[in-house]
Amino acid sequence: MARIQIITIIISLLFVLYIARLIVKGKLREEYSIVWCVCTLILVVFSFWRGGLEVMSRLFGVYEAPNLVFTACIFAILVYLLHLSVVASKLHKQNKQMAQDIALLKEKIYGGSSN
């Protein structure tokens, strides 16, 4: 096994451990960890299977293997960013509804502001 393979495998494993730690500590919700676990899994697979990249490139008709890596990575990142925008929009909406409910309840309890 080549040196680079060992390095990438170790780094991938450390990454998985870090994600697990974040989940355990409650800093990362499980649903958002899935994408990171899948990414690491792909990294590990291609670390073991050195010829894999060439095989995939030929499958997709890409001449230079690194181009496939860049294209796939950028596409995945864009999709995930869009997903995060959707999440932010949802939080924005929920935040607004909660603020309005709080204001209406405050008015009911204190007749307005608490001071």
Partner: protein, 236 residues
């Protein structure tokens, strides 16, 4: 039986102008209407709240800043929950003179419109806004006509009278920022009757507009997109 009318006064750092607005409101005499004043404090950092406390008004104190649309919608939610017949938005910066309210009310009595807009541009009296602002308003006039087929000259006017149907609709959905032109598309799609009546507006007495020069391009783009999607969205 008098109609229950809620006057929604959205405020963001309006300590300079709010006392004038509230004082003018107290002098208002509208027979046939049972008036409640509601100040919506959109998380101001100045003394807006303590000024509101000095007057006989209800107060909605938002814990975070929601923007004008979110603040107005909070007032409309209050109107909906407390069974008001009518609600009017009157900005806390003094641009919407309380004395003009009678015009909105009489327009509604005559036309039975669900939404009455106080317009600066029908009789072209009073504060007419800057040239670039009018250019933008002209653009929204055409855009609104394109999306709804209706002619609304002052689609960015916030001086608006909602009836029960409009209150209920806006309580379920109202845009957060720059809500005026987009909500017109939404109301038109829901089949509400919208009427415009001339009012005289004044230059804001204090505070800052939420729309300043460097954001005006963003404003145009955001509102155009919002109007387009309001036009194709199904009403829930």
């Amino acid at each position: 039986m008098p109609l229950k009318l809620l006057i929604i006064i959205p405020c963001y750092n309006e300590q300079a102008s709010l006392p004038n607005v509230l004082a003018a409101l107290n002098e208002l005499d509208l027979p046939g209407y049972d008036i409640t004043q509601l100040v919506v404090n959109d998380c101001s950092t100045d003394n807006t709240v303590s000024i509101a406390h000095k007057y006989n008004v209800k107060l909605l104190d938002l814990p975070v800043n929601l923007g004008i649309g979110g603040a107005v919608q909070s007032g409309l939610l209050y109107a909906f929950a407390n069974n008001f017949d009518l609600a009017v938005q009157m900005d806390g910066d003094g641009q919407h003179p309380p004395a003009e309210l009678a015009k909105l009310l009489s327009c509604r009595e005559v036309t039975q419109a669900n939404l009455v807009i106080g317009s600066r541009f029908i009789e072209r009296q009073g504060f007419q806004s800057s040239f670039t602002r009018r250019l933008g308003i002209g653009y929204f006039y055409r855009l609104n006509q394109f999306f709804t087929g209706k002619r609304i000259f002052d689609s960015t006017s916030g001086y608006r009278l909602f009836d029960r149907k409009a209150i209920a609709l806006a309580a379920t959905y109202y845009p957060d920022d720059y809500p005026e032109p987009e909500s017109l598309v939404y109301f038109a799609k829901a089949g509400l009757g919208v009427h415009e009546t001339p009012v005289v507006m004044t230059v804001r007495a204090g505070g800052k507009s939420s729309i300043r020069n460097f954001t005006s391009l963003y404003y145009c783009i955001k509102v155009t997109i919002a109007m387009f999607f309001s036009a194709i969205r199904k009403i829930q």
